[in-house]
Amino acid sequence: MGALVTKALRPIKTFNVENRAHKVISKEKPTPAPLYPSTKEDLKRTLAAVPDIDEKLDKKDPGLDDRLKSVYVTSYGRPEDDITREKIQQNPNRPLPKNRSQVPEFEMGWNEPEEVPYGRTTLRKALEFIESHQMNPTEVTASKIALEYKLKGEDVEAILKYFKAYEIYIPETKKSAARFAGPTNYRRKQLQENKIKELAGKSEIVDKKQDIPVKDQAKNN
């Protein structure tokens, strides 16, 4: 509805709009917007009280300046540093931390507690008993482990059933055929070597071509 009204009234609103606009723009000095009624009243009152207010505001007032010079800020009481020192002396049993060295890197990835509650264990100890159980399962039984490490028997049994240490397979030489498991060079070295290989590409392409028939043969067999 509103849109329709606007549409209908627009030609009347915009009648001769260009000429009117040019008239406003071509004025040498733009007419200022009217003041708000309350602002007008305020101005009137000020002018009645101080007729030369404009001049006064432009000039520097030495009286006000002098007064500002006599203003200064001060603080009462003791400095914060003294209070902190006193508190440290009051409470020698709970000293504030002084050690600012870096936290060392932990072997297991986290800091291991010195005391462990009954029924729980650290990862290091868990590894220890899992490995020793795997070495000789007849001697190091679950009940013995439970007694030694202060754990519940059923917990130990469950752990020994479901968690095993790995057997590491290392290929004897680098040329021995790749199987699933096997330690490798560190990755950084690998990347460097890869780069060199890419540059010396030509001989490899030949290798590839030789590869293909061999593989095919293997499949046929």
Binding site: V103, L123, F163, Y166, P171, K174, K175, A178, F180
Partner: protein, 185 residues
């Protein structure tokens, strides 16, 4: 051969000051100065999963692990379950009795079937563990990120049943094996 196998993996890491963990640099450092950090290549951050296959995982210290595994920030153990249907309360018991308590256990399932997720969730609930149940593909990256941040996380990952391979993966595998063992076929 069994002895100390897990420990040996842990001692592989070089100890470096923690300063390298501080990330104070902005994302962009001006023309031709932007650098990329690949968290899997920074060995001091701990063990991470580099790749996964149907038979197991490859970790970022170069060790290939067969079968499901229980992965800790610096340690890896074999997890003796055959699939997500075998995840019971007992099979997650180790994570429960660990001290210090682990903040989050990330369980990587080989499927995203509702049934498998439910059984795993019930098992974790029974142990009062905070778990994140994901498919293994997502679980690997989640574990990597959380471990790089130095959180106390653990992962219980089952290899996926099938792997979708793209050309980049194939190239990486080729490069990996050729470079390592230099096979003359």
């Amino acid at each position: 051969m069994l002895l100390n196998s897990a420990k040996r993996i842990t001692t592989n890491f070089k100890k470096t000051p923690i300063l390298s963990l501080v990330r104070h640099k902005g994302a962009y450092e001006g023309d031709e100065k932007t650098t990329v950090r690949i968290i899997n290549q920074e060995l001091e951050l701990g063990l991470m999963v580099d790749s996964y296959a149907t038979y197991g995982f490859r970790l970022n210290n170069g060790v290939t692990v067969l079968g499901p595994m229980a992965l800790f920030p610096r340690t890896v153990l074999s997890w003796q379950v055959r699939g997500s249907y075998e995840i019971t309360e007992e099979s997650l018991r180790l994570f429960k009795i660990l001290e210090p308590k682990i903040d989050l256990l990330i369980v990587g399932l080989e499927t995203n079937e509702r049934k498998a997720i439910d059984t795993a969730f019930r098992a974790a609930r029974a142990n009062k563990l905070n778990v994140e149940l994901l498919t293994t593909e997502h679980a690997c990256s989640t574990f990597n990120f959380l471990n790089a941040e130095g959180r106390s996380v653990a992962g219980a990952l089952i290899p996926p049943l099938s792997v979708t391979v793209n050309e980049d993966d194939m190239l990486q595998t080729q490069l990996h094996y050729r470079n390592l063992y230099q096979q003359d076929l």
